[in-house]
């Protein structure tokens, strides 16, 4: 048996023995996802046990180095773990911005001290992070941000406002872009700093979305003291870190999001609602829409695999993450549109038990944010045209 075959066999056996039965059921909705953090209340004993066991193996962050709490797996082993988890429908034990945003940036830019301080609690699901990038006047033009950090000798004093800070009210720490050199040009005076959301002077105010949920906040900083050793990368070079992190964020947003449609085929779902005639969906226009969508999804998947394969050969995903983010999110929005077409009146119910509290309509509405968060679709097309196609600036 090759090493990888042995690894697969061991992994399968371990998962079989350690993944609780309840954690092998598909999630009914995104609300069953485990985010972790100091304020997290486990929804079941199984959820807690599953997180602990996986964290002990380092498999909440399979590819991170072991010394920071990860699993130290290579890409092939990580792929096997992923396949074996999918095989038994095992849920992701925990995930939050610490894993798919801050972690990669810390691993690349963080000092040894910062890595040792912050990565292990992420892996154990103990600290949940939020992202302080956007401001009321700095959205797509992120580098125009105005939140200031003044040097006070042994610490910084942070003042300003962030907005659209997802889960700011539930997170424990924030990674935040602040201006540390007001004299420098736009991109050159920004630093990437970390601080505790329980620090004095931090307040959050939830904002309600069109889906009726309040996953994000306005976040205010009023004379917040930040340790000077909590700067990731060089002082005033935070933009490099910010951009690198965004490529990971975009990669992730472009992937298949959790939720009702995850792994669900639209054809059979539509058949339940619109019926069939001669073995085909009775609504022929909807049938064509679904086919075109699925074909586009298959094509997108083929491209993702190709880009990943090339990246492994050392060619880096880089600006390609904009392609993945653009198509991944636009396809996801199309899926939800087609789902709503299929579900008809039932999809519109806002709070019935039948619809798990208006899950369909709420997820449909939430999907509209996919092409805004992490950089809008228009911004992605701009990156593609300038960075990948080399088209000139105006």
């Amino acid at each position: 048996m090759s090493d990888l075959e042995q690894f697969r066999a061991d992994t399968r056996a371990w998962l079989d023995a350690n993944c609780p039965e309840e954690m092998r059921q598909p999630m009914k909705s995104q609300s069953e996802h485990c985010w972790g953090g100091r304020k997290w209340e486990f929804q079941s004993e199984a959820q807690k046990v599953w997180l602990e066991r996986m964290a002990d193996k380092g498999w909440t962050a399979p590819q991170w180095p072991k010394e920071y709490g990860g699993g130290g797996l290579g890409p092939e082993e990580a792929a096997i773990l992923d396949e074996e988890m999918k095989r038994i429908n095992a849920r992701t034990p925990v995930s939050n911005f610490g894993f798919w945003m801050l972690g990669p940036a810390l691993l690349k830019f963080g000092s040894e001290e910062l890595k040792r301080e912050h990565l292990p609690p992420i892996c154990r699901g103990e600290i949940r992070w939020c992202q302080g990038y956007s401001e009321p006047n700095a959205g797509s033009d992120l580098a125009s941000l105005q939140t200031r950090a003044e040097d006070k000798g042994d610490h910084f004093l942070v003042n300003g406002q962030k907005i659209w800070t997802s889960y700011a009210d539930k997170a424990d720490w924030i990674f935040c872009l602040v201006r540390t050199d007001p004299e420098a040009t736009k991109h050159n005076g920004i630093s990437f700093v970390l601080f505790d959301m329980e620090s004095d002077g931090v307040t959050t105010r939830p904002i309600e979305l069109i889906s009726g949920e309040s996953p994000f906040c306005e976040t205010f900083f009023d004379d917040v003291k930040v340790d000077k050793n909590q700067v990731v990368g060089e002082l005033n070079r935070g933009w490099d870190v910010a951009k690198y992190l965004l490529t990971h964020e975009r990669n992730n947003i472009g992937g298949e999001p959790p939720g009702f449609l995850k792994g669900r085929a639209l054809g059979p779902l539509a058949a339940e609602y619109v019926g069939t005639e001669h073995g085909k969906l009775a609504d022929t226009a909807l049938r064509a829409d679904i086919a075109r969508l699925e074909i586009d999804q298959i094509a997108f998947k083929a491209l993702v695999e190709k880009i990943r394969a090339e990246a492994e050969a050392g060619q880096g995903v880089g600006a390609q993450s904009a392609v993945l983010k653009y198509y991944g999110t636009e396809l996801n929005k199309r899926r939800y549109e087609v789902m709503m077409d299929a579900l008809g009146a039932e999809g519109l119910e806002w709070d019935s038990e039948r619809t798990m509290g208006g899950l369909y309509a709420r997820e449909w509405l939430r999907s509209k944010g996919n092409s805004i968060e992490g950089g809008t679709s228009e911004v992605m097309l701009g990156i593609v045209s300038k960075r990948l196609l080399g088209l000139p600036d105006a």
Binding site: L281, A299, K306, A394
Partner: protein, 361 residues
Amino acid sequence: MKLNDEQQMLQDSVARLMADKGPVSRLRQLRDENSEKGYDEPLWHAMVEAGLTGILVPEEHGGIGFGLVGAGLVAREIGRNLSVTPFLSSAVLGAAALSAGGSDAQKAEWLPAIAEGRAITALAIDDGAKHRPEAIQARVENGLLSGAKLLVLDGHVADLLLVAAQGDNGAGLFLVDPNAEGVTIERTQMADSRNAARIRFDNVPAQAMTDGAAALAAALRAGRAVLAAELSGLALEVFERTLAYLKERKQFGRLIGTFQALQHRAALLSGEVAMTEALAMQALDACDRNAEDADQLVLAAKSKAAKVALLAGQEGVQMHGGIGMTDEFDIGFFLKRARAGGETLGDANYCADRFAALRGY
């Protein structure tokens, strides 16, 4: 999937061959000369010499048995250059059909001839203007074929016709001699300056295959997958030519490539083309591996490629402005080929319909 070294070498050498010997200017020349054969003979000879006509023919019959990924790599370069040869008709459709369903004698007679370029085969499937292989009309009774076919690529130069017809065991392919009595061949010039014959059969002797249905299925699968690759190459070429123009043409005192409206459309096109290329390769590879979902992938790839090639052609013309509409400029040839290649062996809608059926809705 990633190309192995052998495949990469094939791609490089075919790219050189097509750009050298089969560029778009050759298509223009053949059209303007109203070439009798309707294909590029010197290029075809060079392809025979390079062994490309035997790319799908098993080694025991004198081919190189490179598989569909190999054939797709050739087709991709054909698409980039709009090279005109009977590669699809003979080396792909003929070889795939005969390998899958021919008798030992039929294989021994025709496969080496295809590989060595001694014979050209043509596939006759469509009874009407739209591709409907589930409802073949032509019939073989007591060994005699009657019916009418159209869009028979290279039909007027073929040495052997493979004709889809209803026989005693349902629909399948039959071998027919184009010179037999009762065969009437009308060469039709198509919009893409290629030829495709309309052929009538009146009680013509037709030779059954060992498994005519398998031969038909294999030809359709291989042909669609290879066409998807050709169309992806075509789309890529149009995109690259158009991108170059955006970086060169000035209006309002600046490069038109600085206009965001065009930048975003170029970005969208580049993504569509990249997805089409990736999917076409994945479909070809799935066929070679005989993967369970190979048919689904092939239908998806052909449907997507037909749409994207046409999109590229349209965007290519539009972004070139007036010059894009002139016959003197090459971009129009790509648009025309996109439409004709898209129609061949099932258009985007047909393939999407079959795809949905395979997925059970």
